[in-house]
Symmetry: C2
Subunit: 547 residues, 2 copies
């Protein structure tokens, strides 16, 4: 009956590769200078290769090494990467080492990604939200080789990923238990690890990197750049969303809008008597702008996707708040953070570059294919969710006996972006990008069906209350300012929408525009954040503009 | 500015508890006979306690021990459990040790759960799908103590969970890095583990159990109980769903309907020329009924939530298919399996006890509050998904330029259940249960919005093609047989629905009812499955009815 002769092809292929590499290896360890030859030996042409790199932490020694391998020996790789962040991530396509890419996010390289798709030098399998990409590692993108980064390895090959555990565990697991090869760059090789994050059984090769892995402080926002318009929006969000819906758990996207919310909690939030009443529980990278709220007792817990440069000592001194191991260092986890971000939170608050007349939003604009990151996952209504909280339940429609609540998904935008172009548009640039990049679907970050609120400097549109697409468009027009979309708004319609609670202007929320002053910020600059932290927060040099 | 005096309350509380327990501990190890005293020392009244137990694997030594603690010393526990499976899981509520429960599934105890909610002895926080409950462990249900089960521990406290890794890693992580206490029952304590699944750094206490943890073969279905009606439905599903939509990746619920599909692949599927064309990639516990398809070369990969009793040797001999560690044993992972099941699959095929006239389904029937398990997660359309596959894309509506595809969510049911009661009903019993149990929302397993197909012995309703609730109801009536719902179907309407491809009868799919014979099954009984496995599958005694 059986037709297949061998059932351990992958295991034998792995053994053969490791046998060939044995002259380079002492146990699991390989010399830094032998890294190129090692990759040429352990990676076969056509292999599916996961290269670690979310938006902050990069396995950059391994990616720089991969760029140098001989394309005669290694080619047609199918790369799987959370983030296309570094030049060599695309160079390997130009020089013939790789041919196909599945990814999530392409911040710094997004313009080049668009160009390379156009000229055919990059074939994209698909663009994903992070958690979706991790899921596929166990189904239809099971890797042959994974290239990951650790802080430290011990002599047995146990790994310490510490503070920036990030996506390392889920990537390693997908390969270690399916006869894939796990190759690790370590900043240091030591006798004794502070703790074990990944057991040595899961690891095949450890190489000491030529320098510590790249780490970017991407979640750090200097409060001195927060404008009074952003403070006004933050005040509206606190009153018209957080207080109104009794929000208890939250993820904030990256940006000054949400940084302003964080910095208003100990001042404006306190004035409103909201302390102890809203948002004790956070899923968030350890953003410095949260420090004043933590120090004021607003925050019970913060679980993090990854670390943030300069926050190490502060976190270590606040184990009641952050997830910290026995060794005193945080453990982050991007996969579990995204699970929590999807299923366990009341609210996601993000920002975007464009919102169309229907309420769909995208950060993909002409010439930039930036991908998705975690926003589609956290900014979507998880229809599998079954537990209810007051915030979730407050969005339940009252006309259906089988109805349930919904996650609050909030877009906070100024009506015009920093480039002076309108954020509200009739049609997303993403529609054109779809055609140019030959994507199956329009690369929308958050669909209008999932978007429950839009906050601008004009007011709040409570989209979840609208009962037709026509009404939804009217609600968006009402808060879209003097953009072409906003100019269609009629005063009679606005009056009606306000009466019915579908749109709220600042005055409807009891927010005075003249109160939106920078003096309301609990910290007005980085130096004040450091003070709040009692000197425990250590900002990276580029944020240190005081003496 | 700061108002909080201490930032390590949890850490000090943990140290104090462990200090009190020090007379019972040798390093991390505690005598079996001291388990009760240990729990009385390490668990404070009011603590949030996670007790491991999905539907198969149970930390039953620890749950039996917990039942014996003195309620004067330990009371008002808030229990967090995937599954309420054993009598003591509810006894601890009756005897005053625990007072609140958050859970996912209550199969064997579902009647008693209903009763205890009614009489007030059990307060339910909420009912969840598994992944949702895991997410909350990092946000608003962060545990004080977790009680988990391992196969083996070594002298340092490293854990081997092997084959049935299940939910142990995610539970342990939520406590180990937030100053919770991790207490492990181990079947064996050994000098050398086959591999490390969980590092000792994450573990506080190891106790050798009085007997190996309870493990149930819940995914084993004996083919001799598969009926010809189920075979007919399986034939329709293969032609009208899998082939039609070019399905590549799949999760099957537990049941004879999907077992029939598995057993028809090497026969009927082969006749149709579908081998190599459909479903190479599976997220599924290692069900014995999949063996003939694996042996015939249909299956490229299977990732599993947990293990299945008797499949150990077979899996170990098929590492190209299953996720197997270097030690030769499978590693399962319920959390990552659910991530993959939600985001990476083309199709979920499940079954249910009731479907209402609108297409909502529930296994909660009068007197039984069975909970949800994984079905809401896998049987929902993940609106954060951004990658497309042919199956997903085949459900994309063609009238909207911004549209995207959808996950196939299929309910396969006979129109009357094994209890002779109609599956299709006007209103779900769950609506009454909601009132009795004072739940916030009706406990629906899969909502009609997420349900794309219903397969019965009468035909297939392609619900995703309907464009109004009225039409959706008609499509359901058309395949609901002689149930009260089905009797409303009119022949003119049926004709129209068939013409428009919204309903297909067997003849529309080229399936002859007379071909649906048991002889089509690749294995007709357990003995034949063992033969297919070349003797590697070792069925539990209760499935061995040959000599």
């Amino acid at each position: 009956m059986a037709q297949k002769q061998s059932w351990d092809h992958n295991r034998r292929a792995k053994e053969t590769k490791l046998e060939k590499a044995s002259s380079l290896m002492q146990g699991k360890f390989v010399q830094t200078s032998d890294a190129k030859e090692l990759l040429e030996t352990l990676i076969d042409s056509g292999d599916r290769v996961v290269l670690e790199g979310d938006n902050q932490k990069q396995a950059d020694f391994l990616s720089r090494t991969l760029e140098t391998v001989d394309p005669e020996k290694v080619n047609h790789l199918h790369m799987i990467m959370s983030s296309i962040s570094r030049p060599e991530h695309l160079n390997i396509f130009e020089n013939g080492i790789a041919s196909k890419m599945d990814f999530s996010y392409a911040g710094p390289q997004s313009t080049r990604v668009s160009q390379m798709i156009s000229d055919g030098s990059l074939v994209v399998g698909d663009i994903h939200t992070y958690l979706e990409l991790y899921g596929r590692l166990f189904i239809d993108l099971i890797p042959n080789v994974v290239l990951v980064a650790a802080d430290k390895a011990d002599r047995q090959g146990n790994l310490y990923t510490g503070y920036n555990t990030e996506e390392t565990p889920v990537i390693v697991e997908s390969a270690a238990f399916k006869d894939g090869i796990v190759i690790v760059q370590a900043n240091e090789i030591v006798d004794q690890l502070p703790r074990v994050d990944i057991p040595s059984d899961w690891v095949d090769v450890v190489i000491q990197a030529d320098q510590p892995y790249q780490l970017e402080p991407l979640f750090t926002r200097d409060p001195q750049n927060i404008t009074e318009l952003q403070i006004l929006m933050a005040m509206m969000a606190i009153r018209g969303v957080y207080e109104k819906h009794n929000v208890q758990s939250v993820n904030h996207g990256v940006g000054f809008n949400t940084a302003a919310i964080e910095l208003l909690l100990p001042t404006y939030g306190e004035q409103l008597g909201l302390k102890g009443k809203i948002i004790p529980n956070w899923e968030l990278n350890p953003t410095p702008t949260l420090i004043p709220a933590i120090e004021s007792g607003w925050v019970q817990s913060v679980h993090s996707f990854g670390g943030e440069v300069g926050m190490e000592k502060y976190i270590a001194a606040r184990p009641d708040v952050f997830f910290v191991g026995k060794d005193g260092t945080m453990r982050s986890n991007r996969a579990f953070g995204q699970v929590a971000g999807q299923y366990a939170l009341d609210i996601f608050v993000g920002s975007t570059l464009q919102i169309d007349q229907f309420g769909n939003s995208s950060t993909v604009t002409n010439g930039r294919l930036s991908g998705f990151g975690g926003a589609p996952n956290m900014g979507s209504n998880p229809t599998g969710r079954r537990h209810s909280t007051p915030a979730w339940q407050s969005l339940k429609p009252d006309d259906d006996p089988l109805a349930k609540g919904q996650k609050l998904v909030v877009q906070m935008v100024e009506t015009f972006g920093s480039n002076k172009r309108p954020v509200f548009v009739d049609h997303l640039d993403a529609e054109d990008v779809r055609k140019e990049a030959k994507l199956a679907n329009v690369p929308i970050m958050i669909y209008t069906e999932d978007t429950t609120h839009i906050v601008t400097e004009e007011g709040i549109a409570y989209l979840y209350k609208t009962d037709s697409m026509a009404e939804r468009k009217q609600a968006i027009e009402a808060i879209a300012g003097v953009t072409p979309v906003g100019l269609r708004s009629k005063s009679e319609t606005l009056k009606d929408l306000r009466n019915r609670g579908i749109v709220a202007l600042p005055e409807d929320l009891g927010v005075k525009r003249t109160d939106a002053k920078r003096s309301l910020l609990a910290a007005k600059n980085m130096e004040e954040i450091v003070e709040w932290s009692k000197g425990l927060y250590n900002p990276p040099a580029k944020f240190r503009n005081w003496s």
